[in-house]
């Protein structure tokens, strides 16, 4: 059977040995799923042939970019063939005048921005994993990032797609122009977590680099002051390009490693970025400063130059890695709440932590209410793991209770599938399943994702790099911290 695949792509481009397959059973999440073979197509027609082969042989198929996802979206949960797009990594065309680019799915997010930077353009979605993650993966997961607040998530930047269906038919959806007529199939595909089709070509929108960027650091004595400031900014109609919050505990951890000049005695800080034409940016920055001051900011600093700006963002984007050094185990969750309820939520999260004996660290996209509470502990201490998981469950339940969601950007994948009923009724889920069936009737494409697997006993397993005990987790994301690669599940359509 494998010979059929080898005929399509060549022997060199098919992996079947166990030791090779074990390198594709993980991604950036804590999930695992080992494929039965891995194939590296070099072009669209090979993908078409692979899909036909999979369909003919009744073999499950799942796409993979760089494998930086945080919910197991690209893992072969039910085995089968994993289609890895790392060879399809060319930027096919850039239309500078009309600000769009045509790329293969394996193009790395940051490389597209780099390639067009000289023309004063960028590809706006900037997940923290942008230096590794691929645009194909971003499309499947509808990736976001800190600058989502102003620029929107991936779906706001995709004009057209070429997709290969599970039966091997290839279609073009959307187009080169904004708002193609007919059903918004691009909107449907972006964020479908690889369950509807394999994306083989992407027409993406390019955005002008702002004339001026101002990065501000506002320092507060308490988290309440910081969260109140975020609420006030929203109320005043100020939309910064990014608005990130870090609490005092996290500041101290991050600063001890990254040394970006953060105030270690502060209760919380906000990293706020405004951009646009010079005057507009300055005006906005002034309004932000005023709002921060009005909410008891003890200091508001503006980054003097690009170097200082980079240092601040480095502190932000590498924060989870730094936190990972504090304790052998650290669980980061990904929940969403309406941003107006930030002060109350953080207080209650703190209480939940305390009740279970943890200090909860918080660093997150405050501007859009996307929380990442972190619980650090050492699982070798008896009972700690269970307590951490119990606290995590309560926090996720709290997010839903407050009118939020079980995931902000990491996706559902095979990690939170069984949490979907917290948000959707059975009939709601049934409609989604009908959509999936319309495109993926056999269910061979990326099986076991998004929807609760009926036979599941409600356990998420957490093997650390394929070793150590697998523990069951109740109701929460279990992430051995490392990246905060953002893959947004469509919170900002």
């Amino acid at each position: 059977m494998i010979a059929g695949l080898e005929r399509i792509v060549g022997r060199e481009q098919v992996l079947t040995k166990e030791e090779e397959l074990r390198l594709y059973e993980y991604d950036g999440s804590v999930e695992t799923g080992r494929p039965d073979c891995v194939v590296f197509p070099g072009n669209k027609s090979e993908v078409v042939e692979i899909a036909r082969w999979s369909n003919r042989n009744g073999v499950p198929m799942v796409g993979r970019g760089a494998g930086t996802g945080l919910s197991g979206g690209a893992l072969a949960r039910e085995g089968g063939v994993q289609v890895v797009f790392s060879r399809m990594n060319r930027i096919l065309a850039v239309d500078y005048e009309n600000q769009r680019a045509v790329v293969e799915p394996g193009v790395v997010n940051l490389e597209l921005s780099r390639a067009v930077a000289r023309a004063g353009l960028q590809y706006a979605p900037d997940p923290s994993s942008q230096k590794s993650c691929t645009i194909g993966g971003n499309v499947s997961e509808n990736a976001g990032g800190p600058h989502t607040l102003r620029y929107g998530v991936t779906t706001n930047h995709i004009l057209g797609l070429e997709v290969v269906m599970p039966d091997g038919e290839m279609y073009r959806i959307g187009g080169a122009a904004v708002d193609a007529p007919g059903y918004d199939l691009v909107g449907l595909f972006v964020g479908s977590e690889g369950t509807l089709g394999l994306v083989v070509e992407i027409t993406a929108k390019l955005t002008r680099l702002p004339e001026s960027v101002k990065t501000l650091l506002a320092v507060f004595e308490t988290t309440d002051d910081a969260t109140e400031t975020v609420v006030a900014l929203t109320a005043r109609g100020i939309t910064p390009a990014a608005c990130e919050m870090m609490d005092g505990w996290t500041i101290r951890v991050v600063e001890s490693w990254i040394r970006a000049g953060l105030p270690t005695d502060a209760g919380a800080l906000l990293l706020i970025e405004v951009d646009g034409p010079r005057e507009a940016a300055e005006e906005q920055a002034a309004a932000v400063v005023e709002t921060c001051r009005a909410h008891k900011a003890r200091e508001v600093r503006t980054a003097k130059d690009e170097r200082e700006r980079e240092a601040l963002w480095k502190a932000r984007k590498n924060a989870f890695g730094a936190v990972g050094r504090v304790a052998p185990d650290c669980y980061v969750q990904d929940g969403v709440i309406p941003r107006t309820r930030l002060p109350e939520t953080l207080r209650r999260i703190g209480e939940i932590g305390k009740r279970h004996g943890f200090e909860v660290g918080n660093i997150f996209h405050a501007g859009d209410g996307n929380l990442h509470p972190m619980l650090c502990f050492d699982r070798r201490e008896p009972g700690t793991f269970e307590r951490a998981m119990a606290a995590a469950s309560e926090i996720i339940a709290l997010c839903v209770e407050l009118g939020g969601s079980i995931t902000g950007e990491h996706g559902v994948g095979m990690e939170k599938d069984r949490l979907m009923p917290l948000l959707f009724s059975e009939t709601d889920l049934e409609l989604m399943k009908r959509v999936r069936s319309a495109f993926n009737p056999s269910g061979l494409l990326n099986p076991g994702k998004l929807f609760p697997v009926s036979k599941s006993c409600g356990e998420i397993r957490a093997p650390a790099m394929g070793r150590g005990p697998s523990e069951p987790i109740e109701g929460a994301r279990n992430e051995r911290v490392g990246s905060d690669a953002e893959t947004r599940g469509g919170t900002q359509r």
């Binding site: 950036g28 984007k317 730094a322 990972g324 790099m465 394929g466 911290v481």
Partner: protein
């Protein structure tokens, strides 16, 4: 001449140096390293990425995977450039892990005939012995000067042997080697601001003696008394990278003896080779806390400075003339990723008036030199070099500056094979030129 390194290089019975579980556990397989890895960028395969290699090393160490040819191939293909360490948010010490894995491969894996023989001869029978290396150098010099190499090249003999590109990569042997037979002291020019010991290298003293001389002149001109202690030899970096950790330890111990002899303190031990510096700053890994040499090794680490780092800390005081040229800087991996020194060489370059420094794209990516990688994995090294030269050519620089002899060799080959005939200099050679002109 001090005695040859004693012949105690045999593998110690029962030596089992393995990575700690916690070192692996730091990797959370987030994948942020992938696109910083030169081999992943070339082939897009997890097995040839830092994350995938860590996974393979772990599986082998935990007994879940066999130490077979496939594993060895992927570990051999690693440049040990450590760009992944710079990219890693969790602080995984990849260099340490891969070096330990290579140590285990050398202890337990039987390579095939010629590869095994060649490695054994070079690492065990030649590298540790200054006299043998000098004799080898002499032979190579003879071959180069007598035109044998040219003859071999022109008749296509080298091509036939698949050595054509390698010949370009081999260093030209100096007429006169840089001497460390007796301790030499070079006085500071003007007021003495520091007293430093100079580390001269092994292969470098036969092929880069001019660079060594220039380094000493620049140090002197900036108020340093420079001592070249006798009896010093290879730092052990090549051996560490190849997995010959016992050989490396013996070499390192010898340097500990030489540089700490007499107990007279130096302000710093200075090297102009980033690759050597990186290993010497990690002597503590060769002599763990249980070793009687641990304290000395840590003391050595503390004193060791790359020459660019040292001059930058000290501050340039020598008068320098304008050197009008357009230059680009290639980060030496073991300076940037190994020692985390990025700005110092750039500041020194910009201290020379008239130099226009144009940054190339991806200057933090390996040029393919990587110690002896360009000889052992020539095809890959050349593919990386071609990519490097595209970035270099795009800057329209006349001069490529870097901070390590290996990189100099590789980039010189690059300038010849795929460049615009750029001149390739070590950063201190640029400083030397500026200073020399002032004096002239």
């Amino acid at each position: 001449m001090a005695t040859e390194v004693q012949q105690t290089m045999a593998v110690k019975a029962g030596e089992t140096e393995l990575a700690d579980y916690r070192d692996f556990a730091r990797c959370v397989h987030c994948g942020l390293c992938l696109n910083h890895c030169p081999t992943y960028r070339l082939w897009g395969r997890e097995a040839d990425s830092p994350r995938g290699r860590i996974r393979q090393m772990f599986l082998v160490d935990s007994g879940e995977m066999a130490m077979d040819a496939t594993f060895v191939t992927h570990i051999d293909r690693c440049l040990d450039c450590r760009a992944c360490e710079t990219a890693c948010p969790s602080g995984v010490e990849y260099g340490k892990l891969v070096e330990l894995a290579r140590g285990r491969i050398e202890r337990e894996y039987r390579r095939t005939g010629m590869a095994r023989l060649g490695r054994e001869i070079f690492y065990r029978r030649l590298l540790p012995y200054p006299k043998r290396m000098a004799a080898l150098g002499g032979l190579m010099r003879l071959a180069q000067r007598s035109g044998m190499q040219k003859l071999a090249q022109s008749t296509g003999l080298l091509k036939l042997m698949g050595l054509e590109t390698r010949a370009e990569l081999l260093p030209e042997i100096d007429r006169k080697f840089f001497s460390t037979e007796t301790t030499r002291t070079f006085p500071a020019r003007g007021v003495r601001r520091a007293r430093v010991a100079f580390f001269a290298g092994c292969v470098a003293r036969m092929t880069f003696s001019a660079l060594n001389d220039a380094t000493i002149r620049v140090l002197q001109a900036n108020g340093c008394e420079v001592v070249v202690p006798e009896g010093q030899w290879c730092c052990g970096a090549l051996a560490v990278h190849a997995g010959y950790r016992d050989v490396a330890r013996e070499l390192a111990r010898r340097n500990l003896d030489v540089f700490f002899a007499g107990g007279d303190g130096f302000d710093a031990i200075v090297t102009n080779a980033a690759g050597c510096g990186s290993t010497m700053k990690e002597y503590g890994l060769l002599f763990g806390p249980e070793s009687e040499d641990h304290e000395r090794a840590k003391g050595f680490e503390d004193k060791l400075r790359d020459v660019t780092e040292f001059l930058d800390e000290l501050g340039l005081t020598a008068p320098m003339q304008r050197v009008p040229l357009r230059a680009t800087y290639q980060d030496s991996c073991h300076l940037l990723h190994g020692q985390k020194v990025r700005e110092a060489p750039r500041r020194l370059i910009q201290a020379v008036k008239g130099v226009e420094l144009v940054e190339m794209e991806l200057s933090d990516q390996c040029c393919g030199s990587a110690g002896v990688y360009n000889v052992t994995q020539t095809e890959t090294a050349m593919a990386l070099l071609r990519k490097k030269m595209e970035c270099v050519n795009a800057t329209a620089a006349q001069v490529i500056l870097t901070a390590n002899p290996g990189c100099l060799l590789q980039l010189r080959a690059g300038a010849k094979l795929a460049g615009d005939g750029q001149e390739v200099l070590h950063v201190v050679e640029l400083l030397d030129r500026a200073i020399e002109q002032e004096r002239a």
